[in-house]
């Protein structure tokens, strides 16, 4: 098994006919993902590489049984795109869009409360389950291989770096999830830890954090109380100056809890093996598994 995406995923892409949307839809299809529909208002009734395009999400869900949506809609329209997907009964929304205003995300969170719908992102690379050949996101598929390591991260390319290290050492992955670099992500580290805890395929976890916020500390608390699988951690941004936004909207140190050192200490204190450098994430996993 894997978590969140797999062979039962029926993917719909909002903003499929745009530049980025079309490029990545193709890559997902090549990897093996079942792409069943696209949504672009005004382009309903057309097809895109054999995939039917609809004017609205609700129509698309009715016609195709789509259960997962990947969103490429630009920032000004992304807020509404998320609401539309949730309203149509989509159970997993993966929002790739970078640059959504924080106040819009506050409203999204209020809207999603009480709905049985999970949002991943925004500003995220998506997720992939290699064994079931299902990729809903931007990551290069060929660096992954099936296996038992779960990966969760706030970053994109740094996750690819970690995955490539794992794959080179023969350590395959169950599911790799990028929760995104925004301050108010739909899915947090703790949410993902809960899912990996229940997943039988996942035997160990790699958690990649970065400066800003307190999500890593909250993850540490959860690991201490509930998480029984071994974890390797890395936190990026030890050299980042305070008060500056380091690319990601959420990667800004304000107050001591946002610092890399605070996060590393919190994770190490609950038994997480900390990778000494970003080049040694794979090796740290290997060493940790050898000790068991």
């Amino acid at each position: 098994m894997s978590i969140l995406v797999g062979k039962n995923t029926r993917l719909l892409v909002q903003g499929m006919t745009g530049n980025e949307g079309s490029f990545h839809t193709h890559r997902c299809m090549e990897y093996g993902t079942k792409v069943v529909a696209g949504v672009t208002p005004g382009k309903g009734g057309t097809t895109f590489d054999g995939v039917p395009v609809f004017n609205g999400v609700e129509q698309a869900v009715h016609a195709t049984g789509a259960n997962t949506s990947m969103i490429f809609v630009p920032p000004a329209g992304a807020f509404e795109a998320i609401l539309e997907a949730a309203d149509a009964g989509i159970s997993l929304i993966v929002c790739i869009t970078e640059g959504i205003p924080v106040m819009d995300m506050v409203k999204v969170h209020l809207y999603l409360k009480g709905k049985s719908c999970r949002l991943i992102g925004p500003n995220c690379p998506g997720l992939i389950s290699p064994r079931e050949r299902c990729k809903v996101g931007l990551m290069p598929g060929d660096i992954h291989r099936p296996g038992n390591i779960g990966v969760v991260s706030r970053s994109g390319t740094l996750t690819y770096e970690a995955v490539a290290q794992l794959t080179e050492l023969g350590l395959g992955q169950s599911t790799c999830i990028g929760i995104g670099g925004d301050p108010l992500p739909g899915t947090t580290f703790v949410d993902v830890l809960k899912l990996f805890q229940r997943d039988k395929q996942t035997e160990a976890l790699v958690l990649i954090g970065e400066i800003g916020g307190t999500m890593e500390q909250e993850a540490a608390q959860f690991i201490k109380e509930y998480f029984t699988k071994p974890v390797v951690g890395f936190v990026a941004g030890a050299t980042a100056p305070p008060g500056r936004r380091m690319g990601h909207a959420g990667a800004i140190i304000s107050g001591s809890s946002g610092r890399a050192s605070e996060k590393i200490n919190a994770l190490a204190a609950v038994g997480v093996s900390i990778a000494p450098s970003p080049a040694e994430i794979g090796v740290t996993v290997k060493k940790m598994l050898a000790k068991r």
Partner: protein, 388 residues
């Protein structure tokens, strides 16, 4: 995004929040004129983005217009060095001249987004005028909080709760609720990331006044606030960062001599971290972004090399959306054009990596390939520095 205090106060005033009478000036003569208009005794406040102005000598009181002119002459053109600036400080080219206010009490009021609660939160404290981070650490019970639902807006009962919590006199309860309601309106209407009044004062004649004001804005929301975007003061920003912004490149200048060019913010931070781990110092944070073109890569190289502190370069590309051959062409174009002689270490992997490496090898430029991130960092740390 940050703006100046005088700009923040103008926005607050538009929303009906009481602020001291005052004007922004850029010459000593103007300072004297404004002081005369305001009745003589005034406060002069340097207008810079950095905080900690008071302790750094950036706020001074003048008893009369002559003294205002004198003080303005000293302050304008000087450099303010505070705990929030670099050692060189920031140039002072504007002063806010305000009426002097007789203060009875100093309070604190702010609104930020509480990431854990996923809601805006208003915070109030009787410990006004102090560093609120410090108060939060030492006396968290002295900070009152109330979360606000953007669907309902700020409610009067929330305001009364805070007003009574601040031990305000009965007569000030209503003005306080109005003040808070308006501050939330500013926060919401302008997509602020921070709206802070510190101190919020009660004057000796029993009025509330926003004596200092700080508004920061959500960069992601600037597309719907052209009025706010237009307030940016390029003088307050590192010129290379301004240039990078224009090109859509995420760049932050640091103090080291190893220039870095990376795709992806997390990997860019991790690259800086590993440079430090091997004993060198990063000169910058630079994320060229997901779908960078050859031209953007070349532009990013140009910005990185425009920093005179850069003596060697580490390029770390994990090709995904960005193909390695595209990155390689951009790098070669920038280095060739500038006839660069400093050592450049390149680590590439991912999409089209073989083509990328081939382009670099064929270029005849002083580029050292590295097989992985650790080797790249070690190579750049021992490389003998050159000139851009």
């Amino acid at each position: 995004m940050k703006i100046h205090e005088y700009q923040a106060k103008a926005i607050l005033a538009q929303f009906g929040i009481p602020v001291p009478r005052g004007k922004v000036v850029d010459s000593p003569v103007q300072a004297s004129q404004v002081a005369a208009e305001l009745g003589g005794k005034v406060v002069l406040k340097v207008q810079v983005y950095a905080g900690g102005r008071g302790k750094a000598g950036g706020i001074k009181t003048a008893q009369n217009p002559q003294e205002a002119e004198q003080l303005a002459r000293q302050m304008l053109g000087s450099r303010l060095v505070s705990r929030q600036t670099s050692a060189e400080g920031v140039k002072v080219s504007k002063l806010l001249v305000e009426e002097a206010v007789n203060i009875q009490r100093e309070l604190y009021l702010s609104i930020v987004i509480d990431n854990s609660a996923q809601l805006p939160v208003m915070m109030a404290s009787e410990a006004g005028g102090m560093d609120i981070e410090e108060v939060a650490q030492t006396h968290p019970e002295k900070i009152l909080k109330t979360h606000i639902s953007p669907l309902l807006g700020f409610q009067a009962f929330q305001g009364r709760k805070l007003a009574y919590g601040l031990n305000l006199e009965q007569t000030l309860s209503k003005p306080a609720v109005n003040f808070m309601t308006s501050l939330y309106q500013v926060f919401q209407a302008k997509d602020c990331s921070l709206a802070e009044i510190n101190p919020l004062v009660v004057t000796t004649d029993g009025k509330l006044l926003a004596l200092d004001a700080k508004l920061n804005f959500d960069d992601n929301a600037l597309f719907r606030h052209s009025d706010i975007a237009a307030l940016a003061d390029p003088e307050q920003q590192e010129p290379l960062e301004t240039e990078a912004n224009k090109q859509g490149i995420s760049y932050i200048k640091l103090d080291g001599d190893v220039g870095c060019l990376v795709n992806g913010a997390g990997l860019a931070m991790a690259t800086m971290d590993i440079i430090k781990l091997v004993g060198a110092q990063p000169a910058n944070f630079l994320d060229v972004g997901g779908g960078a073109t050859e031209e953007q890569i070349a532009a990013a190289m140009g910005i990185l090399l425009d920093d005179p502190k850069v003596k060697r370069v580490l390029i770390n590309i994990f090709g995904g959306i960005l193909r390695c051959d595209v990155a390689a062409r951009g790098i070669v174009a920038a280095l060739t054009q500038r006839e660069v002689t400093l050592p450049v270490v390149v680590r590439m992997r991912g999409t089209n990596v073989d083509e990328g490496k081939e382009i670099l090898a064929q270029s005849g430029l002083p580029i050292t390939p590295a097989k992985d991130l650790l080797e790249a960092a070690r190579l750049v740390a021992v490389a003998k520095g050159g000139k851009a």
